[in-house]
């Protein structure tokens, strides 16, 4: 093998290694701004350096003008129609689940209780009094109604425009709700800082150990009664040690509970 050929092979290997180790990619809005020539020279140079090594982002950037202009091949109308039907099914399912009242988990009552009763019968021979009492406690727990925890998706305010109200949540004291924060850009792994900021700019709660899910978003559980009603902004920053890099801001309104 000539020296020149081995240099090419080594370069190829190195480039693949660099590409595989890229831990983050430009956000979609950065790619859009780059495509439109709207980035500052240093930011533009950073994007250029990234797409030198990252074939995927380079391809996405190459496809972006076509995406924005719409000059793309037409799809098969039957496929489009089938996808529309599938989409409507999903929309209907989602809207139905949002309106489903909280119900106790009674549908699995008989199978679970049958299993527990069978376990008691099998283990009652030689079982301790303390262990049987513990199982009785669990049976009672299974009989109590357990409300579903509502889940709310929050997107950054770029998706909301002036005049549109932020999502309103009504949460009774001690009830819980899950907030899923969906940042627009990529989210490298690590520990993030989250801040709840009230309408008058006061940070009412903060944590420095929020980790993203495998889907690149963040889950927070909100307990009713922990915050007074009002408009809040949730800022997510990081990852550590860069605690000033804003990953996303999410706005919601906590409504006064009627229950």
């Amino acid at each position: 093998m000539s020296t020149r050929a081995s240099l090419t092979d080594s370069l190829k290997q190195l480039a693949r290694g660099v590409e595989e180790n890229l831990s983050s990619h430009p956000r979609p809005e950065t790619l859009l701004a780059y495509c439109g020539g709207e980035l500052a020279p240093t930011e533009s140079a950073a994007v250029e350096e990234h797409i030198t090594w990252c074939r995927e982002c380079s391809d996405i950037l190459d496809d972006l003008p076509q995406f924005l202009s719409g000059e793309v091949p037409e799809a098969d109308p039957r496929e489009k129609s089938a996808d529309w039907s599938g989409l409507m099914d999903q929309v209907n399912r989602t809207e139905r689940s949002e309106h489903r009242p909280a119900v106790a988990e009674t549908s699995s009552f008989w199978p679970r209780s049958a299993q527990l009763i069978a376990a008691i019968l099998v283990l009652s021979v030689g079982a301790s009094v303390f262990w049987v009492a513990n199982l009785k406690g669990r049976l009672n727990e299974a009989l109590e109604p357990r409300p579903n925890i509502p889940i709310y998706d929050l997107d950054p305010p770029a998706a909301e425009r002036a005049g549109e109200e932020a999502l309103g949540l009504e949460l009774a004291a001690r009830n819980r709700a899950v907030l899923i924060l969906n940042p627009l850009g990529s989210v490298p792994p690590g520990a993030y800082t989250v801040r709840f900021v009230s309408a008058d700019g006061v940070t009412v709660w903060t944590s420095e150990s929020l980790e993203p899910t495998e889907f690149g978003n963040f889950n927070l559980e909100l307990v009713g009664g922990s915050l007074p009603p009002g408009r809040y902004r949730i800022d997510v920053l990081g990852p550590q040690p860069d605690s000033e890099r804003l990953v996303g801001s999410f706005v919601f309104r906590l409504l006064r509970s009627s229950s």
Partner: protein, 214 residues
């Protein structure tokens, strides 16, 4: 890259009319008294480009269709208010790219878990270091060291090349682009690309020789 086309200022007449008539539907989509009809108009208008975007990522058709649905579901649930079709298209692109990256991350997480299990299992079965992927790493430390050393020297040499020369080399060797494509991407002539590639290799070799003497 045709940036003017990207901004939507140079379009065939039919396209301009189509997009202009979509704006009321895009706006109606954002209102509670919606909007399924408006949403369908928007779906019909933008389906092709979303589909083209996912196909361009090398995904299987069935996977593409799942991601198309996910994208439009987010559009429907997002229901932003937009001043122009351009704003909406930029937002749509952001959603599509995020959906793609999320799906890729999820797939990678599954693959990584499976890989780690397999490697743990392999290491358990080959505790004595029988030659194989894990065995080779243990039994050839000198080669591993030399390999790392070569990569380090090459990376150092690359950083010392002028930026455009380095880009030409990486686009040629890593992206496997033709001279014309590199020239278009970097907005330089084909002759300049060829000169960069020739001089780049010479300079890299000189730098590697110098670095290995240090």
């Amino acid at each position: 890259m045709n940036r003017e086309a990207a901004k939507g200022t140079v379009l065939p007449d039919r396209q301009t009319t189509l997009l202009h008539s979509l704006l009321p539907h895009i706006r109606r989509m954002g209102r509670a008294e919606s909007s399924r009809e408006s949403f369908q108009e928007v779906f019909e208008a933008y389906y092709d480009r979303v589909r083209h975007f996912f196909l361009g990522r090398g995904l299987a058709p069935e996977e593409c269709r799942d991601l198309i649905q996910e994208t439009f579901l987010r559009v429907y649930q997002g229901k932003g208010v937009f001043g122009s079709t351009g704003e909406f298209e930029a937002w749509l692109f952001q959603i599509a790219l995020n959906v793609y990256r999320n799906a890729k991350r999820a797939k990678y997480a599954v693959k990584r878990n499976v890989h780690e299990e397999s490697l743990d299992q392999w290491m358990e079965e080959h505790r004595e270091g029988v030659p194989g992927r894990g065995g080779e790493a243990w039994s050839n430390p000198l080669e591993q060291f030399l390999d790392r050393e070569r990569r380090f020297l090459l990376a150092s040499a690359l950083t010392r090349l002028p930026r455009q020369m380095r880009r030409c080399m990486v686009l040629r060797i890593h992206h496997e682009l033709k001279y014309r494509d590199i020239a278009d991407k970097l907005e330089i002539s084909v002759e300049t690309v060829k000169a960069h590639l020739y001089q780049g290799k010479q300079r890299l070799q000189e730098l590697l020789d110098d670095l290995s003497k240090d």
